[in-house]
Symmetry: C2
Subunit: 150 residues, 2 copies
DNA sequence: TTCGTTGCAAATGCTTTGCATCCAC
DNA sequence: GTGGATGCAAAGCATTTGCAACGAA
């Protein structure tokens, strides 16, 4: 794909993130990161990301989005969530360990930046012979927007 | 489908569960419930369930398994989980509110019957205008079996 | 120059659906 | 008898993969 010769500085955030992760800096990867960064408060599906990047540069392929998201997830640059629906959702990593409020009607995801689970984590490690990685609390329910309807 | 004329009592657990849920008692539904009941300690995928029921009665259709599992989930007879992998897993409902330990290597799921989250639940309800349904804690990590390898 | 990355198209895997037949009530 | 349930086959959707062309280092 030929991407418009945009005067983007080589040392932008996306470039830094890629280099820090030991990944090659390609315009596609930078775009995906920028799209996720601009949607910082939301969770995007692969389709959302694809729509956004294609808006900017026609020809951006869907499978490239999936491949890039997978690589970025492996490199811990983005985080992937499967929150009950059938589609995965992505967000830029690096904030606090986070939990989610998932609306069972509209499937919107809100973040829950609370809940200290360190006690739970320690207990599990001690009791269950289970080396704990990510702890994720998902709470299903009905969000404020949906409480009027249905 | 013609199911073998097995002398199964009409008042078995599966029949009771179906009747209580207001669902018609069909041999297919009873079989699905029985399979889930026999695997009480595990989480089964739709494929697992299908393999098990087909073992007993040839001709049991895959889509019937999906339809039955969906109806049973709607009726809260079974619980569906999406625990990081792309495939849904099912188990008979009705035990304690439960949480999971998911091994990132083998994707095996262990149960975690602990963690009192009532405080968290109350706080969320008070603060977020979010009507809380199910709370599910998922902890990813490496299980004991996998700790040797890789 | 080299090997990783991308575009394209086709395949995959899980799940859902349309329709005719069947059976629980 | 009647509406819901099932079998079958085909479609659906999100995601993955093979391969040739391309481009970052």
């Amino acid at each position: 794909m030929r991407v418009a010769a945009e005067p983007t500085p080589r040392s932008s955030t996306s470039t830094n993130l890629l280099q820090a992760a030991g990944l090659r800096v390609t315009p596609q990867r930078r775009l995906v990161i920028e799209v996720l960064a601009q949607a910082a408060d939301r969770h995007l599906t692969a389709e959302d990301v694809w729509t956004a990047v294609r808006d900017r540069y026609d020809g951006f392929n869907r499978s490239t989005v999936y491949r890039v998201l997978e690589q970025l997830a492996d490199a811990h640059v983005v985080t992937m969530h499967r929150l009950g629906g059938s589609v995965a959702q992505f967000e830029l990593a690096g904030v606090a360990p986070h939990h989610h409020l998932v609306c069972v009607r509209c499937r919107r995801v809100a973040e829950l930046l609370d809940a200290d689970l360190s006690v739970l984590r320690r207990r599990v490690l001690a009791r269950e012979r289970f080396v704990v990685g990510g702890v994720s609390v998902t709470i299903e329910g009905v969000c404020d927007r949906c409480q009027g309807r249905g």
